[in-house]
Every structure is written in structure tokens, then in C-alpha cells.
């Protein structure tokens, strides 16, 4: 392994800008790392070797014209975002072979900043899952222990960071798909405020919850990437037309003196592993020692969040996924000239969707049907309003809320495959955030029996800067203790 791949994105960006390193060298080093490690990890569904090197060469040529701190730095892109001409499958067989004719806004912004896209990362099919086991192309493995899951749905992006295959990654978070993988791989991931990053070109799972966000191995890199992808997009009616908070400055300031930090009472206790609870308590002690005031806060309606989520997300998904019908793109099954269009649609969907996707389409179709709408979708929307009020009330008292990101460390591959409800519980602490549209970060808090534990920070909508302010402060102390990012402690990572 080239030592290059352990460097932070900020450092690589500086070295490239100063001409100490070329983007081509940096990109090649990461492509080599992928080649050496990905047979064990399977973080990538598609490695765009030629495209990445071409982008790197272009970045080297245009170096002088750019003032982007990430110019020439490589990145791993979750396979749910459209990139023109590059296969985009969402981890599903139904989109096998589809090459989007357009760039998502996130990809366009990455390209404009001179960031090199290495390839597309593995994910649970259509982002439905918490382990990446639901990918139609096989699971991704956790670099900390390849018998364990890397989280999901964005397990590929998180594992790529942990395995030093990329210093930056993009994820998407509908109920925790950025933060839960970040937690179980010892990396950093942010779900920005809903509407903070354009959804144009993000293949929708649940439109009112989906949000793309930045992932990296440290807080500053995450902030630098956040700054690149955030901002109003006239192609997305739900994007917020307001200035992006200065997340980079906040990450650099990293000062919690005088801040009020609320511990969510409902996101602790039963169900949270001891190692998780211990690392959380230690992190709180650090923040307190840095001058923050720790206050316990109650959010009584959070207990309804999981139920509401599993009505809203499948309902929207049942409609969003209707377009995969073999008529215009992707898989087509049974088109033998004798069958009707309806039969081809039905055979294609039967063959193309995996069991979890089918489960959620059926759930959502039922929840929206006449006579059930009010009881299911309608009630879930009411819960959503209550949870939003819980957050609003909490932010009257505190600047940010905190909790463990997940109740447990990474579980073993196959451990929860037959128990969807147990799997759904992995996201119990992350889901309320999506329902309320607020901003949230997960960053490493340490290890429990050799596996990473995540610390979650939740900030009010459009105050994403506070995540970085608090996360940066906590990270500074932890990195000092660990002598670098937590991911440097991964055992047995292929080093040559």
C-alpha cells in the first residue's frame, strides 16, 4: 500500500495545488489500492479506471485555474447518483446496464471542483437496508472484520474510506444510510439539512427523506466536501434557496465553549450495547471538559419514529420505483413478441427487484390504498409533525442534540438477514433526523471490542455548521489520543 492513500483529502488537495503531487499519481495510488483490496471488501460495483485517469489528467492540466481545495482529489460515489455515461445500478438488477444520459447535480458540482470520481460504490438495493447485504451484486465487507457488515445502505462508500480506497465519498441518507455505515466503519458521515444538497439525479427511494451527503475519514475533509456539493439547485423544487452555512470555518474553529449540548433521553438505555454507551459517555466527558454544557433532553415522540418511517418511506418508494417497467431503460424480461406490455412489465419487475425491495413496495402500496391511507400514511405524517415539534422544543434549550449513532457495533454478515425488524432497529437513532429534515453527523467515538462506535450530533435545519463545530472539537481530542484517525487502527488491512 502506498502511504499516499492514508493521507487526508485536505492534505492531498494542498499537495496537488502546490505541485508536490499530481492528481494522476494520487488517483493511480487509489486505483491500485482498490485493485489490491476490493476482492476482499467489494466496496465498488464499478471502477471507472479510464474515466478517473482522464479526469485526473484534466485536473492536472487545469490546476492553475482552480481554487478548489479538493482539486484533483479522488472520490468514491454511491451508485445511486447518476453520472453521465457511467453504469448506475442502485445495487439492483433492474437497472443493470443503464448508463445515465445526464449528470446528477452532485456529480456536476464534483466535476466543477476538479474532484476525480473513481467509481460507483455498493449499496443495499435502492438504498433499502442497513447492511449492504441487500445488494443484488453481493455484500460489501467491513474492513475492520470482513465477516461483518459495513452498515447500509451506503456500506460501499464507508468501506471504501476505511479501506483507504478513497479519501472522500458521497453517500445518501434516507433513514441513516450515511451515518450508520460511518459509525460501524469508524469514518465520518453527514446527512445535511433536507434541501441543503440537490436531489436532482439521486435515484429516489423516499423523496421526502432522501438526502445526499459527504463522507470522509475526518471532520475537516467532510466539511470541504460538504461545501462543494451543497447549495440551491433550480432543478430541485425541494432544495433550499439560502446561503450554505460555512461548514469549513466551523470545522476549523472546532470550539464548543459555551455551547449547550442536549443528550436525547429516548436514544439511550435498553438496546444500546455497553461498549457503545461507554464510548458515548467518554465523548460527552470530553465535550464537557472542552467547555460545553451537557443537558438531558426528552423527545417523547421519537418512539413512534420507526413506525412512521416504515410507512412513509415504503409508500413513497412504491410510487418512485414504479418507473422501472422495462419500457425505456434497464432490464427487460419476457419480451418474446407474444407477450403484452403489461406482462413484460410484470415479469421484469418480478425478476429485477430483490426481496427487500418487493417487501417495501407491497407495504407502501398497501399503506396508500383507498380506505387505509388515513390510518397509515396519514397517521405517519402526523407523527412526523410531532417529531418535528420535539426537535423544535429541544432546540429552544440546546444548540445541538447528541446520541450514539447506532445501538450496536457492526453485526455479522447473515446475522439479521432473516429478521427484517431486527435489521430495521439498527436505524432507531438515525431515523428521527430524516423525518424532521434536520442535519446530522456521525463520527468515530472509539472502539468496542475492536469494532468502531459512532457518535451522532444533530443540528437544527440549515445549521449544519454546528455539526462541524462540535464534531471538530471532539475529533481533535480523540485524534490526539489515537495518534491519528481511528481508521489507522484497522488490523490486517492489505499493506504492500
Amino acid at each position: 500500500m502506498s502511504e499516499l492513500v492514508r493521507k487526508s483529502a485536505a492534505e492531498l488537495g494542498t499537495l496537488i495545488a502546490q505541485g508536490e503531487l499530481s492528481s494522476r499519481e494520487v488517483t493511480q495510488a487509489h486505483l491500485d489500492q482498490i485493485a489490491q483490496t476490493d476482492s476482499a471488501i467489494h466496496a465498488f460495483l464499478h471502477v471507472d479506471v479510464q474515466g478517473a485517469l482522464a479526469q485526473a489528467d484534466h485536473a492536472d492540466k487545469s490546476r492553475g485555474e482552480s481554487n478548489s481545495p479538493l482539486h484533483g482529489v479522488p472520490l468514491a460515489l454511491k451508485d445511486v447518483l447518476a453520472q453521465k455515461g457511467v453504469p448506475t445500478t442502485c445495487g439492483s438488477k433492474i437497472l443493470e446496464g443503464w448508463r445515465p444520459p445526464y449528470d446528477s447535480t452532485v456529480v456536476a458540482k464534483l466535476k466543477d471542483s476538479g474532484i476525480v470520481i473513481l467509481g460507483k460504490t455498493n449499496m443495499d438495493e435502492f438504498a433499502m437496508g442497513s447492511s449492504t447485504e441487500n445488494s443484488a451484486y453481493g455484500p460489501t465487507r467491513n474492513p475492520w472484520d470482513t465477516n461483518r457488515i459495513p452498515g447500509g445502505s451506503g456500506g460501499g462508500s464507508a468501506a471504501a474510506l476505511a479501506a483507504m480506497q478513497a479519501p472522500l465519498a458521497i453517500g445518501t441518507d434516507t433513514g441513516g444510510s450515511i451515518r450508520q455505515p460511518a459509525a460501524v466503519t469508524g469514518t465520518v458521515g453527514v446527512k445535511p439539512t433536507y434541501g441543503g444538497v440537490s436531489r436532482y439525479g439521486l435515484v429516489a427511494f423516499s423523496s421526502s427523506l432522501d438526502q445526499a451527503g459527504p463522507c470522509a475519514r475526518n471532520v475537516l475533509d467532510t466539511a470541504l466536501l460538504h461545501q462543494v456539493i451543497a447549495g440551491y439547485d433550480p432543478k430541485d423544487a425541494t432544495s433550499i434557496n439560502a446561503p450554505v452555512p460555512d461548514v469549513v470555518a466551523a470545522a476549523k474553529r472546532a470550539d464548543v465553549r459555551g455551547m449547550k449540548i442536549g443528550v436525547v433521553k429516548e436514544l439511550s438505555g435498553d438496546g444500546y450495547e455497553k461498549g457503545v454507551a461507554d464510548r458515548f459517555a467518554e465523548s460527552l466527558a470530553i465535550l464537557e471538559s472542552q467547555g460545553a454544557e451537557i443537558i438531558e433532553v426528552s423527545c417523547p415522540n421519537f418512539k413512534f419514529a420507526l413506525g412512521a418511517y416504515y410507512l412513509i418511506a415504503p409508500s413513497e418508494a412504491s410510487s418512485n420505483l414504479a418507473r422501472f417497467d422495462a419500457m425505456r431503460y434497464g432490464l427487460r424480461v419476457g419480451d418474446d413478441g407474444a407477450r403484452s406490455a403489461e406482462e413484460v412489465m410484470s415479469l421484469t419487475r418480478e425478476a429485477g427487484f430483490g426481496p427487500e425491495v418487493k417487501r417495501r413496495i407491497i407495504l407502501g402500496t398497501y399503506a396508500l390504498s383507498a380506505g387505509y391511507y388515513e390510518a397509515f400514511y396519514g397517521s405517519a405524517q402526523k407523527v412526523r409533525t410531532l417529531i418535528t415539534r420535539d426537535f423544535a422544543a429541544a432546540y429552544e434549550k440546546v444548540d445541538v442534540l447528541v446520541s450514539p449513532t447506532t445501538p450496536t457495533v457492526a453485526f455479522k454478515i447473515g446475522e439479521k438477514s432473516d429478521d427484517p425488524v431486527a435489521m430495521y432497529l439498527s436505524d432507531v437513532a438515525t431515523i428521527p433526523v430524516n423525518l424532521a429534515g434536520v442535519a446530522s453527523m456521525s463520527l468515530p467515538a472509539g472502539l468496542s471490542e475492536g469494532l468502531p462506535v459512532g457518535f451522532q450530533i444533530i443540528a437544527p435545519a440549515m445549521r449544519d455548521d454546528r455539526l462541524y463545530q462540535v464534531g471538530g472539537a471532539l475529533e481533535r481530542e480523540l485524534h490526539a489520543k489515537w495518534n491519528g484517525p481511528l481508521t489507522n487502527q484497522i488490523p490486517d488491512l492489505q499493506v504492500r
Binding site: 447518476a82 445515465p100 430541485d236 423544487a237 418507473r323
Partner: protein, 500 residues
């Protein structure tokens, strides 16, 4: 044996419900920037958004919102302060997303009305049609079923899909139940669609061409025994592509329903398709098991919340109502009721108005449009507005007649040539060498010859029997190959015969 219509309305009371779909004439589609030109090659006006590509998102066309609000205001509707789009979910190959973005329980305009006038046995009578809602939605693509005998999906060898129409803004205007029209239901339905069409045209929001599908009407009809106070089971007739068809479809369905009810049979709640050739309807999809569209608020779009001052501005800028305008023009031009009605029916009001605005006398302008040009339009089986002669050209012809440079007869030749595409009036006249014979010496010679050829007729005129002059004038016109000004010939002839 089919029932007579009189027999049906003697025993049954009809109820109507009319749903009109209007394609707006915005330059771009409802949710993307694609062009909306009619008749473009298949799939050339498409993009990731209107093809429903994964990840693509809709953005609302502001112009379409404005048009819809203007329609609502013209129909006396309330404008909803905060309305929402909803998804209507169903699978069909020409629906790119397999849901249609529409409006459900929160439409943009509600509770309006439109007054229409229908000629009854007791004279003209006004019927108030109440409007339930005006909402926005996107159009679907088009399927073309190839092979098979019927052109329908069943039996076709394969189907082609054209998504140019997918995403074109549609406005749906839905009436409340229209009852107490009695036997005038077919006429009321037609008058409503016609008045609505005129309003939409005056607003300039749509091409309102029924034959091209930019205005489509679905007619719901039900019958109940007179005095029962009940609503019967309705059928919904689609594919009604002309004003005449609206009337025929309603009348036809009333007779069909009565036939079933008379036999003690049940009217099936279903969609039926109007057959232009026979005037009958054919059974389509049964709606007995109501389709569940699983409507829910469109999460990709924010609510439409038009500014109140903007709405008032739009209201203040509404054009004159067609009915008000008709009354004003009728008074201005001093046209009798019957002729005004003829002008309206022929779709000549705009054309005459424009011609008059270019300087033509109203009576003469009306004469040309309703006379010769209408005759040629009928011959060609096209609408008057589609005939290729402009008000400007008609005004010029009227001007040339007034100046004595054309006779009525010559002018008819010029009109025919202009319509045939031979150029504007002046170039037709130049090219054909058409001119009024104004050399009076040759006219006088022709008159003298006519008098010499018909001495007895000439004598009658000399004795004061003026109608006899017609034969002599005819002979002169024949001699001059129709190029003489008939009025001048008459003048000269009567002068010659001592009757001037």
C-alpha cells in the same frame, strides 16, 4: 327499434357531468424545459425529466400556473391559497413514471360557474353550469399500436411509444352535476363546451383545437325517471372530438340508457368511446371496480401558493368575456340576432372584427366571410378560420371593390385565387390581368349593340319597365367578359334609354 328522443325526454330526466381537458399552449412542458410543438418527429421533444429517467425531478412551469389561474378567474372560481400536486399511480406504457403528477384534494381553482345560452321553445334561455374544480396535471405520451385490425392494443403486433406529449401541461375543468336541463341536455352540453372554448381562446392559453386533441371532452350522462329525484348510473363517454359530437354523444347516450332502463336492465358504470362515423358509443373499460390510484401528495414539489396581489392583477387583466364582446360587436355593427348567431356559429366573429379593424365596412366584411369564403370553406370541408385568406386580404378586396377596381364577380375570382395560394389580392390581379373595363367608349359600344340586338326589351325600359334592363345589362356583361362594372353599365344603359 331505437326509441325516439322525444319519447325518452318525455319520461326521463337527464343529468350531465362534463370534464374538459385543455392542453395549455405554453412554450415548454409542465415540469421540464422541453418544447411543445405539435407534430414534431416522435421522441424529439424529451429529456430525462419527461422520460421519467431515474433521479430526474420535476420543476413547475410558472406560466402554466398563471394560465390555470386565469382560466379559474374567467370561470368565476375561487383560487386556492395553497394548493398541492399529488401523484396518481397507475401502470401504463405511455406513462413514463407510471404515475401522473396531478392534483387531487387540493386543486388550484374551485367553485365557479359559466352561463350559457341555448335556444329553447320559449326563446333563448340561460343555463348556469357550475364548475366544481379546475386543476393542473401533465399529459401522458402516446401509444401507436401497429398491426392488428383495430389499431387498438389488443391484437396489435407491436406498439410504438412517443413521449413528445408526455408532460405537456393539461388543465382539467370539471363541472358539478348539471341537472334541470330537461330535453335541452345535448344543446346545453354543446353550448357549454363551445362557450368554454371561446373563453379559453380569448384568454390565449390554448390552441383549443378539438380535432388535434388540445381540447378534449368527456361527457358523463345519466338518466332517472322524471320526478324520481334520483341520479341514475352514469356512463362516461370519451373521444368526443368536435362540438357537434358533444351534442350527438349526449343525445345518443340518453337514448341508449333509456332503452336499457325500459327493458328493466341496468346501466353499466363504464367508460365508452364515441364513434365519429356512426355517432354511437362503444363500451370501454368498466369502472364497476373503481381503480385505486393511491393518490398522495407529490413529495418532489412544494405547494403552489400564488400571491394574492398577483391574482388580483391577473383578474384585472382578464380579456372581455366572449358573450359580452359578442353583444358589444352586434350593437356596434347593427347586426340582426339571426345573423349574429350565424356569424358566431361559423366562427366568423374574430375574422370580421379584424377585417373591420383594417378599414372594411362591417356589412361588406360580414358578407364576404359568411358568403363566398364560407361557401369555399364548406366545399373544402375545413373551418372558416383554417381557410388560407387573411382578414387583411379580405379588407384589401373590399377596398378595391369600393374604389371601383373590382366588381363583385371579379372579386370572387380573386378570393378563390388567394385561397388557392396564388398570392395576395394585388399580385393575383396583376398576374391574371384582372381589371374592370372602364373605357366608357367600348362600354357604350357594347350597350348600343345590346339595344340593337334586343329592340323590344329596350322599348320596355324606355316605357319605364326597369326590371327589363337586366337582360340588356347581362348582354353587356357577356360582351365585356364580365370585366365591366355592372353598376356603371346600368347607369349608362338607363341614360341611353332616357331613364336616368
Amino acid at each position: 327499434m331505437a326509441l325516439s328522443y322525444d319519447d325518452v325526454v318525455a319520461r326521463y330526466e337527464p343529468s350531465l357531468g362534463l370534464e374538459v381537458h385543455v392542453e395549455l399552449n405554453t412554450e415548454t412542458k409542465m415540469f421540464c424545459g422541453c418544447a411543445t410543438v405539435f407534430g414534431a418527429p416522435p421522441n424529439t421533444q424529451t429529456c430525462p425529466v419527461c422520460l421519467g429517467m431515474p433521479g430526474a425531478l420535476p420543476m413547475v412551469n410558472e406560466k402554466a400556473i398563471e394560465s390555470t389561474i386565469r382560466i379559474g378567474l374567467a370561470l368565476n372560481c375561487a383560487i386556492t391559497p395553497k394548493s398541492r400536486f399529488a401523484r396518481k399511480n397507475y401502470f401504463y406504457p405511455d406513462m413514463p413514471k407510471n404515475f401522473q403528477i396531478s392534483q387531487y384534494d387540493e386543486p388550484i381553482c374551485t367553485n365557479g360557474y359559466l352561463d350559457v345560452e341555448v335556444e329553447t321553445d320559449e326563446g333563448a334561455k340561460t343555463f348556469r353550469i357550475e364548475i366544481e374544480r379546475v386543476h393542473m396535471e401533465e399529459d401522458t405520451g402516446k401509444s401507436l399500436h401497429v398491426g392488428g385490425a383495430t389499431g387498438r392494443i389488443h391484437g396489435a403486433e407491436y406498439s410504438l411509444l412517443d413521449y413528445n406529449r408526455a408532460g405537456i401541461p393539461l388543465v382539467e375543468i370539471v363541472t358539478k352535476v348539471v341537472s334541470s336541463t330537461g330535453k335541452y341536455a345535448p344543446e346545453v352540453a354543446k353550448a357549454y363546451v363551445k362557450e368554454l372554448r371561446d373563453i379559453l381562446r380569448s384568454l390565449g392559453v390554448s390552441d383549443v383545437k378539438m380535432e388535434q386533441g388540445s381540447l378534449r371532452c368527456d361527457a358523463n350522462v345519466s338518466l332517472a325517471p322524471i320526478g324520481s329525484g334520483k341520479l341514475g348510473t352514469r356512463s362516461e363517454t370519451k373521444n368526443v372530438n368536435s362540438l357537434r359530437s358533444v351534442e350527438r354523444a349526449v343525445r345518443g347516450e340518453m337514448i341508449r340508457h333509456a332503452g336499457l332502463l325500459d327493458k328493466g336492465e341496468r346501466v353499466v358504470q363504464e367508460t365508452r368511446h364515441f364513434q365519429e362515423d356512426t355517432g354511437a358509443t362503444r363500451s370501454g373499460r368498466s369502472k364497476e371496480q373503481a381503480e385505486d390510484y393511491r393518490y398522495f401528495p407529490e413529495p418532489d414539489l412544494t405547494p403552489v401558493a400564488p400571491d394574492a396581489t398577483w391574482i388580483e392583477k391577473l383578474r384585472s387583466e382578464l380579456p372581455e368575456k366572449p358573450s359580452v364582446r359578442r353583444a358589444r360587436l352586434q350593437a356596434l355593427w347593427q347586426v340582426p340576432d339571426k345573423e349574429m348567431a350565424a356569424m358566431v356559429n361559423a366562427g366568423a366573429v374574430d375574422l370580421v372584427e379584424e377585417t373591420v379593424a383594417l378599414g372594411a365596412d362591417p356589412t361588406k366584411a360580414r358578407g364576404w366571410w359568411l358568403g363566398e369564403i364560407s361557401r369555399l370553406a364548406n366545399e373544402a370541408e375545413v373551418e372558416l378560420s383554417s381557410v388560407s385568406i387573411s382578414p387583411k386580404e379580405v379588407a384589401r378586396i373590399v377596398e378595391l371593390i369600393g374604389a371601383g377596381e373590382l366588381t363583385d364577380k371579379l372579386a370572387r375570382q380573386v378570393v378563390a385565387a388567394v385561397i388557392a395560394g396564388e398570392g395576395d389580392p394585388d399580385s393575383v390581379i396583376a398576374a391574371k390581368g384582372i381589371k374592370v373595363v372602364s373605357d366608357e367608349s367600348s362600354l357604350i359600344a357594347a350597350i348600343e349593340k345590346a339595344i340593337a340586338d334586343q329592340p323590344e326589351t329596350a322599348e320596355k325600359v324606355r316605357n319605364g319597365h326597369l326590371p327589363a334592363a337586366g337582360a340588356l345589362i347581362g348582354a353587356v356583361m357577356k360582351e365585356t367578359k364580365g370585366q365591366a362594372d355592372a353598376a356603371r353599365v346600368r347607369e349608362l344603359l338607363l341614360g341611353q334609354l332616357g331613364q336616368a
